[in-house]
Symmetry: C2
Subunit: 201 residues, 2 copies
């Protein structure tokens, strides 16, 4: 009897249609405005049926998060295969990572919990410039003392801030609470590398 099989198939299709409707929602209006009600409306079913296929809203988001990491890993593997030299691979992977993040912004934002609250307005905040000024002036001073003075200080500032923000947010995502003090080795490693490159020119 193929009835059970058909039921499973239908359930699968239903599930897929929920995800598809959700994805269209996300593409047109972003994560913030995704709602169970809108999904139910799109698939022309009542709200509770969605809870037969997903435990809650977060489970739907989790599905896309997994999908996102899957796609990212695939993309990285693909470019890695194009090179034999590991250093060249590292560079290619970095570019692929970058491309993925901006080509699939919705995924990336969900995957790393980014751009959710006041991100649209964070660049309108004058207070950020203060912090930037301190960093930039210090970088300019460092360059002035280095062997190569043609270094783009603004570029270096972005690199510097990015490394810091990256270290922090990665650490924050991975662990609850304050990280072990020996995790500062990572900070030390990244920053000393940055400074060496900067002072060498």
């Amino acid at each position: 009897m193929g009835i059970a099989e058909r039921k499973i198939r239908q359930k699968e299709e239903f599930r897929a249609s929920i995800l598809e409707a959700a994805w269209l929602q996300v593409l047109s209006d972003g994560w913030q405005s995704l709602s169970i009600r809108k999904i139910a409306d799109a698939i022309e079913y009542s709200i509770p049926v969605i809870y037969n296929h997903f435990e809650n809203k977060e489970a739907i988001l989790l599905e896309f998060t997994k999908e996102g990491f899957q796609k990212l890993a695939d993309a990285l593997q693909e470019v890695k295969n194009k090179y034999d030299d590991p250093a060249a691979q590292l560079e290619a992977i970095a570019h692929a990572y970058w491309d993925f993040a901006f080509d699939h912004k919705e995924y990336y934002q969900l995957m790393f919990g980014l751009g959710i609250p006041a991100c649209d307005r964070v660049n309108q905040i004058g207070e950020m410039k203060h912090m930037a000024t301190i960093m930039i002036s210090t970088i300019q001073d460092t360059i002035a003392l280095s062997s190569n003075k043609d270094v783009d200080y603004f570029l270096k500032y972005h690199t510097y801030l990015s490394i810091l923000h990256g270290l922090v947010s990665i650490q924050m995502i991975q662990k609850e609470g304050r990280p072990d003090d020996n995790k500062k080795l990572i900070l030390q490693d990244a920053i000393s590398g940055f400074i060496t490159a900067l002072t060498a020119g």
Copy 2:
């Protein structure tokens, strides 16, 4: 007549009490659960009075965002003053930045829009390991070809991912839409520095 002055003073105090109540809320339950209703309840006033002092909820969050950047800038300036050598300043600032982020987690999360949706569960996602494996194996290959083979590959992996994530999220915060292609210079700069440090040992 000091009536006008008193009124201004009272308004200021009212505003401060709203922010204080909001901050206590945030400290005990996080940004997600902060609500106008709870603030109103805490200050023992009705809901709409809050809208006499803040245009909306985001305006309250913006206040804390500004406060956060102010505190961060102060902290950075303070440690900068302790050193004369710019390179040493850069290092000290990096540490101060790190300390701030984890000593004032609530601020930092708001400032950079972090940890909002599924961040608690992002480390439970198996798919992330796949991505990590690809990166780590490549880093191990690079180390194997380098002059110093005692490098901690796991530390390097964290550094590598952090730089990438930092670059991306910083860029994402600052600009709407895909960034100029010449912004890839920042990526190039950071990654080539990382790779140089890695291959040199």
